[in-house]
């Protein structure tokens, strides 16, 4: 892609990502003006730290939504993986690296469960992941009886969630690696193109020779693995694993993806858009706290932001569409 199509300046400016970037910049300038200590390096690091888990989930959610699917189970899976990680380490006596590998394995298995139900049994993703959403959370609660929490992790592990390495939060390195992986996957490989093709038309993609089942299975397994990684980071950040970890994170992730310009119907979207979506939400949350505004405003403003950003990118097209239609109607009048 790239070299063959030459977008005009106007089309670049009207691109959803550009508009969202402008929104993000306005947010930043606004909160820097009214907030205390907002535009500082420490605050930036905290924003990054707080958005790593949801950022990871949103990255994994992007290819899923590109294929026209959805995964509601990522937040619950984060909770399940967090307490299993604690169990592996504390009760099974594994070292942290081994426990982490096993946890990622569980994540892959759980993602595999979603994948098999969706791509081989052809069940709708919404229903399947709604089921596993309850299943994973229920398992986490059953294993811990809702009360057991895992704490006292070694400091070397907590470093991953709480300290900086070379001046940036340690977990951000994992996040950046995931960003690069998903960006290459979605934008620089045939996989990425096949996700879009499936999102536009699964049947068409199948006739075009794309192994739809395997591709779809792949994105759900990836989401399981990423949820497990997010769970480990979450545990390191809080220093504790409890069955309620990551409650509601699936909706934050979906919001970020949609805000980032990925069509909920599939086929259209980008990883950088998702990143901007995550950033816009994270900056909003942090900015509200630094401006000493009530925290409830974050939810409200996220909604407003979502509507404004989507309207901002769709309205120009709608208007030009209307103009074109108007012009089309005028032609017969002039000739008559």
């Amino acid at each position: 892609m790239g070299a063959s199509n030459k977008p005009s300046i106007k089309s670049v400016l009207l691109r959803h990502e550009t508009i969202l970037f402008a929104v993000l910049a306005v947010e930043w300038i606004f909160f820097d003006a009214i907030g205390h200590n907002f535009g500082t390096y420490d605050t930036s690091c905290d924003i990054l730290r707080h958005s790593c888990e949801i950022g990871l989930l949103a990255l994994a959610m992007t290819p899923i939504i590109l294929t026209g699917g959805i995964d509601l189970s990522v937040g619950s899976l984060l909770g399940l993986c967090a307490i299993l990680f604690g169990k592996f380490w504390r009760d099974a006596g594994m070292t942290i690296p081994v426990a982490a590998v096993c946890t990622v394995g569980v994540g892959a298995l759980a993602g595999g469960l979603n994948a098999s139900l969706i791509s081989w049994l052809r069940l709708p993703p919404l229903i399947v992941t709604l089921g596993t959403y309850s299943l994973f959370r229920g398992l986490a609660e059953a294993i811990t009886h809702g009360v057991d929490t895992f704490t006292d992790f070694p400091a070397s592990f907590l470093f991953l969630g709480q300290n900086r390495w070379l001046g940036i939060p340690a977990q951000a390195l994992v996040f950046f690696a995931a960003v690069i992986f998903f960006w290459l996957l979605v934008h620089r490989t045939t996989f990425g193109r096949s996700f879009r093709a499936i999102g536009f038309s699964p049947e068409g993609a199948r006739y075009a020779g794309i192994p739809v089942g395997r591709r779809v299975a792949m994105v759900y397994v990836l989401a399981g693995i990423v949820s497990a990684i997010a769970a480990i980071i979450y545990t390191a950040r809080l220093g504790q694993a409890k069955a309620d970890a990551g409650t509601g994170y699936e909706l934050f992730a979906i919001t970020a993806v949609v805000l980032g310009g990925t069509s909920i119907f599939g086929g259209v979207g980008s990883i950088h858009g998702t990143l901007l979506g995550v950033a816009a939400i994270a900056v909003l949350h942090s900015g509200i706290a630094h401006a000493l505004l009530p925290g409830e405003m974050a939810g409200m403003l996220t909604g407003v932001l979502l509507i404004l950003a989507l309207a901002g990118s769709i309205l120009p097209k709608t208007i030009s569409g209307l103009r074109a239609r108007k012009a089309a109607f005028k032609i017969p009048k002039q000739t008559a």
Partner: protein, 344 residues
């Protein structure tokens, strides 16, 4: 040029990330947030007050007391908390306060291990930390405002029961759970007080209501028919009191069988006014908030130090300090004479 236009979103993205992680400007004195406010009142402290959940009436009334204290002291008070009890959100709020640069953080902790990492970080940045209502790990804060000891609660419940029964007769206990640590401790002190001070009173039964109002009601109904001589129901859980009240009312034994327990005034006002429930025991939450802010202020100003034996908090007078716990004192009994003055 064309390349730049084509790659514009990518450039913008990189610039955005740089803006996010890079520093626009260096931190302006991160440990003295009070000085960042436009008013140059140098001594004004910024105290951040964290409830377990913001909407909970219990914490709303705590916050009222906190605000009153802050107004008296001329401190700036920030009150923020999760909308639902959410340990991860509590950590984020504390971390935002650290970069915001508050002077003191006063926290009621949903999960002590989880929040302690954030509180320790605050202390490392020179922010003073106190806790109230629910403690953090002891190394993550300077003082804990202890609203009531188990002994204080157990003794207060038994004393009130004995007062209503004139130190004579049978009673039964509704407990939240047979195993939960705080419930066990409270029941032990009820029994200790009974054995020592009221030997003519007898506890017929202890039933668990699993912290459900419905179950408290059905257990009480069963108790009333099994033990017809029971003169009083004592609940060691806040959900027990209204449940037991409903059972007593429906059994037509209003006033004959007395009803007391731990509880919040608002949940019990109706039954107290109807004469079904004689009193509920808790602490004055507004006083807890008030004491917390006074202690936070004194800690930041250096007038409260570890090792102190007493602490004077404004109009509430002097409080005892046991170790690093500042004791709010004896629990308070809400009855029909005073219950309308409280809203939580």
């Amino acid at each position: 040029m064309k390349l730049i236009i084509q790659k514009l979103p990518v450039f913008l993205l990189i610039a955005g990330l740089a803006g996010l992680t890079g520093c626009n400007k260096s931190a302006e004195s991160p440990t003295t947030g009070g000085n960042n406010t436009p008013t140059p009142a140098a001594k004004q402290l910024t105290i951040a007050f964290l409830p377990k959940s913001k909407g909970n009436a219990y914490f709303v009334s705590c916050a009222k007391g906190a605000q009153k204290a802050a107004d008296e002291l001329g401190d700036k008070l920030i009150i923020d908390g999760p909308t639902d009890p959410d340990p991860a959100r509590q950590n984020e709020i504390v971390e935002n306060w650290i970069t915001l640069g508050v002077d003191v953080i006063a926290a009621s902790c949903e999960n002590k291990e989880g929040i302690s990492t954030a509180l320790r970080k605050a202390e490392a940045k020179g922010i003073k930390v106190v806790t109230y209502d629910a403690d953090a790990l002891p190394d993550a804060r300077s003082f804990f405002m202890n609203q009531a000891t188990s002994q204080g609660i157990g003794y207060a419940l038994m004393d009130e029961a004995a007062r209503l029964c004139e130190s004579n007769g049978e009673f039964a206990v509704i407990t939240g759970s047979l195993t939960a640590g705080n419930q066990v401790a409270w029941r032990q002190f009820v029994e200790e007080r009974r054995a020592a001070a009221y030997p003519n009173m007898k506890c017929d039964a202890v039933e668990a209501c699993d912290d459900l109002k419905d179950k408290a009601q059905s257990e009480t109904t069963a108790l009333l028919s099994t033990y017809p001589n029971v003169k009083l129901i004592l609940s060691t859980t806040s959900l027990g009191v209204p449940g037991a009240a409903e059972a007593i009312k429906q059994a037509g034994k209003t006033g004959v069988v007395k009803n007391i327990g731990l509880g919040l005034p608002n949940e019990n006002k109706r039954y107290v006014h109807d004469g079904v429930t004689q009193g509920v025991i808790l602490w004055k939450t507004a006083d807890l908030g008030y004491l917390t802010v006074y202690a936070a202020d004194a800690l930041a100003k250096g007038t409260l130090k570890s090792g102190d034996k007493t602490f004077k908090a404004g109009s509430l007078g002097t409080f005892d300090i046991q170790g690093d716990n500042i004791m709010l004192g004896k629990p308070f009994t809400f009855n029909k004479d005073n219950i309308d003055q409280f809203d939580f």
